[in-house]
Amino acid sequence: MPRSSRSLTLRRSRFHLLMAPISLIWCLPVIFTVIVSFRSFTDIIEHGLGGLPHSFSTAAYSAAISGVGTGGEGRALLNSTLITVPTVVVMLLLSSMAAFALSRYQIPGRRAIVAVMLTGNLLPPQVLLVPVVRMVQSLGIFNHLIAPILVQIGFGMGFYTFVLYGFMRTLPEALTEAAHIDGASPVSIYWHIIMPLVRPALAGLAALAATWTFSDFIFAISTLQSSSTFPVTVFLFNFQTLYASSWNVIAAGAVLAALPTAAIFLVFQRQMISGLLLGSVK
């Protein structure tokens, strides 16, 4: 007995001896960037970018937020939010409606419809880019926030419909049959019976969708043109060329842009992980 408990302790400490340094190394890019972002420019010049910090300053953050010549990161973060919130809400609403129709009614060829919709989502966005930009221009919404919103709703539809379709199919048929016999309308069955039941799935998908929409770069950079409309990803891209030598400011900009999605992750970690797994592994 004492022998086995000793070996257990040994194994346990071996596990931590291995994993603690690995996770520390894993986080080095984040740690270094955060450190650089809090150093002053003169400190970096004097002691080198890789040197130990000799200063603590939030000047880089103010510089990133005001972002002279770029519209500022505050504006960019606001734009990202203005794109993300309507995209996520409308995308989940429309895809849950489509999933409801496909999973609860005998739509002819519904399995094929779901498969084709999902396939559309597997396409690399680059394949759509040139025509999408043309369409956005001829609709007169080029350089308006509505452009990346619409494109991302269309592009995400396949995935979210597919996942919600799979989820709704697992709900017992009797639920809707009974409500139907009681005279409930399809809309009220959808809203009052099905939607409350898919809430856990929706929470995970919403957290995921928010992170991904917030992270979009390629659709935004192709459909938006001026710094007043840029979301934070495109802002950072331009920012790093403009502020090429102010590493602390770029680092601060990157940290600021990472905060919203990191916050979503911290709050919704469990839902996000389950969202990632929805429809993938039983």
Binding site: S23, I35, G120, H180, P186, F217
Partner: protein, 310 residues
């Protein structure tokens, strides 16, 4: 990141679990509206542009003037285009390196962090933390790290490996691999999540039985655990290959494909042709190549899944 691929296998499995339902026979008009809104959005923003890309790829077009029909001219041009050749080659390296290492590292982390014990939750969270950063932010993190005499170089010399100091992002033979490391760092957490779920679904009695029978840890891994992960393997493969073919943000932010095309990937080449050189027809031909590679690979994997499912 594609989480999009992850579901590919699910309907195949579900088919057995949940047999076709009777459903409600009559389909009310409002249900057609429900279905129509979403599908119309996707048809308009995905299917229609995709078809147009095919059409554009047979034309020469600068986006302003008339489109000129050139037949397979753009595709013939690709054959003699050294930049496209370099992008194709780099993308092959990328598929193998990015796909392979993400898969192996994701699996290793999942195996290490599978059993519930103290601290596992923290380690897991740290490993998949990069997943929540956009690829642009990830690119900037690594750019800070890679700066000449930056944190990485300083760290290397501090631990006595000063000889390894490099110009990480400007040396042509090195830059692609420097980017690869950053991209893998972003992907591994996702792969680990998938493998953790796969391991959870694996039968613990098999592992116990083999342990009692005297199988070593490695034997258990190769003959008991891994065979049970076959389905996850296919999903993971689909995800990493699709992600490899769409890789754009991180390269565009960190190097733009340079220096001198040293880190050129297909989507980067395509984007440059389209939006810097305004060769929209030619860029569309590259887009079609990316499309065909993706579809070809996904169909190959789906056929493997169907076979595995039987």
């Amino acid at each position: 990141m594609v989480a999009l691929a992850e579901g590919v296998a699910a309907p195949l499995r579900r088919r057995r679990l949940y047999p076709e339902r009777s459903g409600l026979r009559r389909i009310p008009l409002v249900i057609w509206v429900f279905l129509g809104l979403g599908t119309a959005m996707e048809a308009f923003w995905v299917a229609w542009p995709a078809l147009n890309t095919f059409y554009y790829s047979f034309t020469r077009w600068d986006g302003i003037g008339q489109k000129v029909w050139v037949g397979f001219g753009n595709y013939r041009g690709l054959l003699h285009d050294p930049v496209f050749g370099k992008a194709l080659l780099d993308n092959c390296i990328w598929v193998v390196g990015f796909g392979g290492l993400s898969l192996v590292l994701g699996l290793l982390f999942a195996l290490a962090l599978d059993k519930p014990r103290r601290g596992v939750g923290v380690y897991r969270a740290l490993i998949y933390l990069p997943l929540v950063f956009s690829l642009v932010v990830t690119g900037l993190f690594w750019q800070t790290l890679y700066k000449p005499s930056g944190p990485l170089d300083t760290l290397l010399s501090a631990v006595g490996l000063g000889g390894l100091e490099q110009q990480w992002l400007t040396q042509p033979h090195l830059v692609l691999y420097s980017l690869l490391v950053a991209a893998i760092w972003h992907e591994v957490g996702y792969i680990m999540v998938l493998y953790l779920a796969g391991l959870k679904a694996a039968d613990p009695e098999l592992a116990q039985a083999s342990q009692i029978d005297g199988a070593t840890g490695l034997q258990r891994l190769f003959f008991v655990t891994l065979p049970q992960l076959r389905e996850v393997n296919l999903i993971v493969l689909a995800i990493v290959v699709i992600d490899s073919l769409r890789t754009f943000d991180i390269v565009w932010v960190m190097t733009g494909g340079g220096p001198n095309n040293a880190s050129q990937l297909l989507s980067v080449d395509m984007y440059t042709e389209a939006f810097s050189d305004l060769q929209l027809g030619y860029a569309s031909a590259i887009a079609v190549v990316i499309f065909l590679l993706t579809v070809g690979f996904v169909m190959f994997l789906v056929s493997r899944m169907v076979k595995a499912d039987r």
